[in-house]
Symmetry: C2
Subunit: 221 residues, 2 copies
Amino acid sequence: MDEKDKAVQYSSGMVGLRERKKQRTRQALIEAALRLFSEKGFEETTLAEIAAAADVSTRTFFSYFASKEDVVFHDSAERLDRAVAVLAGRQPGDTVAGLLLRLVDESLRWATSEENITFEDARLRLRLVLGEPALQARALQVLFDDQLRLAKALHEAFPERLTPVDAAAAVGAMAGAVKAAIVANLDEERSLQEIYETGRRAAEVALSGVRSLDDAKTPAG
Amino acid sequence: MDEKDKAVQYSSGMVGLRERKKQRTRQALIEAALRLFSEKGFEETTLAEIAAAADVSTRTFFSYFASKEDVVFHDSAERLDRAVAVLAGRQPGDTVAGLLLRLVDESLRWATSEENITFEDARLRLRLVLGEPALQARALQVLFDDQLRLAKALHEAFPERLTPVDAAAAVGAMAGAVKAAIVANLDEERSLQEIYETGRRAAEVALSGVRSLDDAKTPAG
DNA sequence: TGCAAAATTTCAATGGATGAAAAAGATAAG
DNA sequence: CTTATCTTTTTCATCCATTGAAATTTTGCA
């Protein structure tokens, strides 16, 4: 799977029979794996079972995904591309904080929108990921890699205002706050709206600073 | 290894021969593993080799560490305990921002102090961790778990001022900023002092908010 | 149709991780 | 010192993810 394939991975138009077949196989693997994971659990599902359910050999699995964990994050590249696009679309009047807040808004909205997957599916996947240490580790790694690229994109959006390190710190603070808040909120049953609000409030804390938490009236809103 | 053992893991006083022998074995495993990792690389070193170098059976390794990666993070429990202690030692006049800044200061100082390990050793370990995907993943997981406990400790330090979610966001922003900044800074050769400064500046960004980056003169300093 | 490229399968091997039972070592009591 | 007991280590057997290489099949194209 070279760069060209990766770039076109989630675009709609595919040409030859060969490519269409590959996409079908990929989709079959994803669906088989996610179904089995939710039915029997991640650890309990073997690659042999996934491959069998998708009608390919076990070896073939690894020409589509680098590891058992990676199937779960099959759409992470698309998500990152969208996020980078938000930063790249910076307008002349934009502030760093405003642009980052737009990033969080769009990401949260898309992550929980119907166009993408059902909210129930999203919640299921979140539980799956947080419940399995191996998946949790992989998720954190994906997030970490994404942050590197977002920091680079933010620096490029404000080349004169932000040093690379400041950009990294800003992205890190934003992502760290949102992630921590969402996870902290996951114990109880929450509605889509509530989780969205939690993430947004965390973004505000990161934007306006922890110091705002020390003020009597929070100027964050 | 039950709770009592874990609690006393890094305290000085051990009684019986049995315990002393266990500590010696643990230490032998750590030293053998770290030496082999830096000599031949992480992937290239097998558990069989580590066990042989420490004069135990391969199986015994797993009664000391849950995985090959875990040896590298043998002191993470102690580090976390120190960090939690800082938060627990909150004084009446402390602000959230002030307490968190003290946390970063003490953590950075201790992580790079001679009492702990040589700075060269610390840098070697950092390179090792960032270079090996498996170790990077484990590091992020450890950091993530630590953040959960720190968020809890911060909430307990300011039970009336911070909701659990706000505490999580604050800790997440702080940790995210510091981590991102340090990693972003690691490409070039940096002195101890420079890395320390980078982390502290990132903490200031998280504390005072990304909005401060939008101001002409940064009020962060 | 037949050749070249790409994808899949088959086969074999490595190495991390785990469970269970046997063996060896340490502790405490008599 | 010796025995009964508890802990730790070893031995043995096994599972499964992952990888490399060679053989085979499928697809694209002349």
